[in-house]
């Protein structure tokens, strides 16, 4: 058994941030606890029945006192809220230069793939000191990817992409827990994060069968599954071209304008009738059930990679 500790290992930049905030909260909790427990104990002794303490002119209320012990907590609340909200904003938004890892949760395992193509199950190797962003979805129920040592957690929701990021600051191995109840073997849906020196990480990443990168897999799917048959300049159907699409605004036939983010691309592949680009007919067949979650993620990664190109 490890040595007894009060807080988990602090192995990411967020861990330090959140622990300081937590320590401030503990200090404020202690302040309020003492300001309630001390008078209660004191009054309970001094004014116990039968004591001859002076009880004349008891007060039954004072608006001044009431207003002050209403206002002080409000002021402290707003301060704590702001601190928590700023830190949350930081935790929730991955930096643009982060390494990309794609994660698919299923009952009861984690399937991970690094952008370079390396696959893992229930393990996540990451380099020290570099931000890593996880793009996650689930192929069945809701899970949650929780790494206590990094103080990060995000639900992994079917039909949706969620993200989580961290920058590891300490070498070592840390728990991965599924923290959203997901059925029979929920408590077995665990794994470990391995934080490595960047050089060792590079070596690990390129060792073994290696395989192709996510973008290359996506491009292969784009060709093999017939996407390129229609989404091409010389297509016999009138279809939108996908070069330069990612992250750009798309006018819809409904008059709305949406951003072509991961969620939009995913829905367009699986539920093509949901949002129809303005000027096009609803002719695309749904690929629901024909592509695995990993394949959809690879396709999107490919579409992302051609997001900067202009259409030929």
């Amino acid at each position: 058994m490890d040595k007894f500790r009060l807080i988990p290992p602090q192995a990411s930049t967020s861990a330090h941030q959140i622990d300081w905030l937590f320590i401030a909260l503990v200090a404020i909790m202690l302040f309020f606890l003492i300001s309630v427990f001390f008078p209660i104990t004191w009054f309970a002794i001094k004014y116990r029945s039968g004591s001859d303490a002076n009880r004349s002119n008891p007060s039954h209320g004072s608006n001044l006192i009431e207003i002050s012990w209403t206002t002080l907590p409000i002021v402290l609340s707003v301060a704590l809220f702001s601190w928590g909200a700023v830190a949350y904003y930081h935790i929730e938004r991955p930096p643009p230069n982060a390494l990309q890892v794609q994660i698919v949760g299923k009952q009861w395992m984690w399937k991970l793939q690094h952008a370079e193509g390396k696959r893992e199950i229930n393990e996540l190797h990451v380099p020290l000191g570099q931000p890593v962003a996880l793009t996650m979805t689930s192929q069945d129920v809701i899970h949650s990817f929780f790494v206590p040592a990094f103080r990060v957690k995000q639900d992994v929701v079917p039909g949706k992409y969620t993200s989580e990021w961290f920058k590891a600051t300490q070498l070592g191995e840390y728990h991965i827990f599924c923290s959203q109840y997901c059925g029979t073997d929920h408590s077995g849906m665990i794994g470990r994060v391995v934080v490595m020196e960047p050089v060792a990480y590079q070596r690990w990443l390129t060792a073994g069968e290696g395989g192709e990168s996510i973008v290359v897999s996506g491009r292969r799917l784009f060709l093999d599954r017939g996407c390129s048959g229609c989404h091409a300049v010389n297509s016999k159907f009138h279809t939108p071209l996908l070069e330069g699409l990612f992250d750009k605004p798309v006018p819809l036939s409904s008059g709305e304008i949406v951003k072509a983010d991961e969620q939009y691309l995913r829905d367009s592949i699986l539920l093509p009738g949901k949002q129809i680009a303005a000027g096009y007919d609803n002719i695309m067949p749904s690929y629901a059930g024909q592509l695995s979650e990993e394949e959809i993620m690879q396709l999107i990664a490919y579409l992302k990679s051609i997001g900067d190109k202009t259409s030929p």
Binding site: M1, F4, I7, P8, S14, Q17, I18, L21, F22, M29, F32, L33, V36, P39, I40, F43, A44, Y47, R48, S49, G50, D52, R55, S56, P58, H60, G61, E66, S77, V78, L80, F81, W83, G84, A85, Y88, I91, Q107, D140, V141, I142, F146, P148, R151, K153, V157, G159, K160, T162, S179, Q180, Y181, C182, G183, T184, H186, S187, G188, I190, A288
Partner: protein, 554 residues
């Protein structure tokens, strides 16, 4: 201190006898109970019913705690474990906590506190109990036929598509129990509006009435949303209509919004009545008027209103928009303020009081301590960035048990001891009462405080097996739970004993001021010989006079 408490009991002993002509002797036999429309008897029917559910849910908790003694899941299978925490949650929330103070103590004392002969709709009141029993039967049916493994939260798409258990019958049980809640809520609201004794203006009402009025509003406004949510969930599960499952085109997060839109206000259904009880106990046992009456009363209403707009704080990591998270976080901090106001006012009430430490007061002081810890740790989970870490861990488990068990159950036990002499005409044994209160307090803290530490260390909730470094704290928690169990079994024994052997209480053993104490114990069928008239504010206690009385006795 000893002499003074003896003096108090002297006063108690000679203050009256047992009223022979009372609501318990008014009819004999099972039929007289099953067809009664007397709010007092209905309160007792609820008491027995929730006791059954409490015991089943407590056994489930005990089995879980025993399983968690060792890191490996070795005593029971993970399937069984998942069913245990589901049945523990479902029964404790809907079949014990929600009806506990409102349906038992509320039914018994609301009409008497406001000087009425009964609730506004006595037959509806009985119907509500029958609905509750039917709901309980459905829940027990699903339990006996193999149970449910969704957790009390029924999150989709697990509950609609993936769970292989009796989800529908359990949901149906909760659905029906909801109607029982709604009807009881309506009954209380109408009773409090229309049946108050002459002179009993709103600002002369006991704070228990204010608290139950606020609770009833939540029951009536929030419970229908639960019914709708469970109905939609069942429709998807039974007929594959796509509402929540993304495979069918639904949105699983929508379920969470709907569920917490009910279940967060339900947290206040489970604590406001407790706060009402504490206002009665603190004043009576410190012989003081409440400090800041209007602030305590209005804070109940503020909690009821604010409680409706904080549901999204259960969803900070659910993939809800981070900006929505910010709004819900700020509002959640604000809902803590009126709770704080109550705690400060109870504390100030003790100042210049003449305090005795009988059992109900021990529970009341225990409540303030545990509720304060529960409320303050609520700030941690309201703080966005910290919640990202502690969400769905044992930190949250500890936090809400401090509110639900440390708060509501302590208040329920305090209230039950306080009104027991009124209900039965007899006193429970004071020594055993105090002992049980102290055992409960110690056992509770030993059970749940280690869970705060476990949670911050990262142990997720609903884990059947866990890494070995969490074992020591889990063993402490299980040890605490066994002490806590003793604290709950003791009252069960001495309450039953006191029914025949307890000393006669007389109409007002606590020398309390409420109208319910102005009639005999047990009360007559129609509560009062003549309709009482209220002429002043409640809680006209006089600590100075009390001191002089004690000094004369000494």
């Amino acid at each position: 201190m000893n002499t003074s408490s003896n003096a108090t009991t002297t006063i108690v002993r000679h203050s009256g006898a047992y009223a022979l002509d009372n609501y318990l002797t008014a009819g004999q036999g099972v039929k007289s109970w099953l067809l009664t429309t007397d709010h007092k008897r209905i309160g007792i029917l609820y008491l027995w019913t929730i006791l059954v559910f409490f015991l089943i849910a407590a056994v489930a908790a005990a089995l879980m705690r025993i399983e968690l003694l060792t890191p490996a899941g070795d005593l029971i299978s993970s399937e069984t474990y998942n069913k245990l925490f589901t049945v523990h949650g479902v029964l404790m929330v809907w079949f014990f906590l929600i009806p506990s103070i409102p349906a038992v103590l509320g039914n018994f004392v609301i009409p008497m506190m406001i000087g009425a002969r009964d609730v506004a709709f006595p037959r509806l009141n009985l119907f509500s109990w029958y609905l509750f029993v039917a709901a309980g039967a459905l829940a027990l049916w699903s339990l006996i036929h193999g149970g449910v493994d969704t957790g009390w939260t029924f999150y989709t798409p697990y509950s609609t598509t993936y769970a292989n258990s009796h989800v529908i019958s359990m949901a149906a049980g909760i659905f029906v129990a909801g109607f029982s809640s709604i009807i009881t809520g309506i009954n209380f609201i109408v009773t409090i509006h229309k049946m108050r004794a002459p002179g009993l203006r709103w600002f002369r009402l006991p704070l228990f009435i204010w608290a139950l009025y606020a609770t009833s509003l939540i029951l009536v406004l929030a419970t229908p949303v639960l019914a709708i949510t469970l109905a939609l969930m069942s429709v998807e599960r039974l007929w594959g209509v796509g509402i929540f499952d993304p495979k069918l085109g639904g949105d699983p997060i929508l379920f969470q919004h709907l569920f917490w839109f009910y279940s967060h206000p339900a947290v206040y259904i489970m604590i406001l009545p407790g706060m009402g009880v504490i206002s009665e106990l603190i004043t009576c046992f410190s012989r003081k008027r409440i400090f800041g009456y209007a602030w305590v009363g209005c804070s109940s209403m503020a909690i009821a209103v604010l409680g409706f707009i904080v549901w999204g704080h259960h969803m900070f990591v659910s993939s809800q928009s981070i900006y929505a998270g910010m709004i819900f976080s700020l509002l959640s901090f604000l809902v803590a303020v009126p709770s704080g106001v109550k705690v400060f006012n109870w504390t100030a009430t003790l100042y210049k009081g003449s305090i005795t430490f009988q059992t109900p007061m021990l529970y009341a002081l225990g409540f303030i301590g545990l509720f304060t810890i529960g409320g303050l740790t609520g700030l941690c989970v309201a703080t966005l960035a910290v919640d990202v870490h502690v969400h769905d861990t044992y930190f949250v488990i500890a936090h809400f048990h401090y509110i639900m068990v440390g708060g509501m159950v302590m208040a329920f036990m305090g209230g039950l001891h306080y009104w027991w002499p009124k209900i039965t005409g007899r006193l429970y044994p004071e020594f055993w009462g105090k002992l049980a209160a102290m055992i409960t307090f110690i056992g509770f803290n030993l059970t749940f405080f280690p869970q705060f530490l476990l949670g911050y260390l990262g142990m997720p909730r609903r884990y059947h097996a866990y890494p070995p470094e969490f074992q020591m704290l889990n063993v402490l928690s299980t040890a605490g739970a066994s002490i806590l169990g003793v604290g709950y079994v003791l009252p069960l024994i001495y309450f039953l004993w006191s029914l025949k052997r307890g000393r006669l209480a007389g109409p007002n053993p606590w020398r309390a001021t409420g109208l319910e104490w102005q009639t005999s114990s047990p009360p007559p069928v129609h509560n009062f010989e003549a309709t009482p008239i209220a002429t002043a504010s409640p809680y006209l206690y006089d600590a100075e006079a009390d001191r002089d009385l004690h000094m004369a006795n000494a």
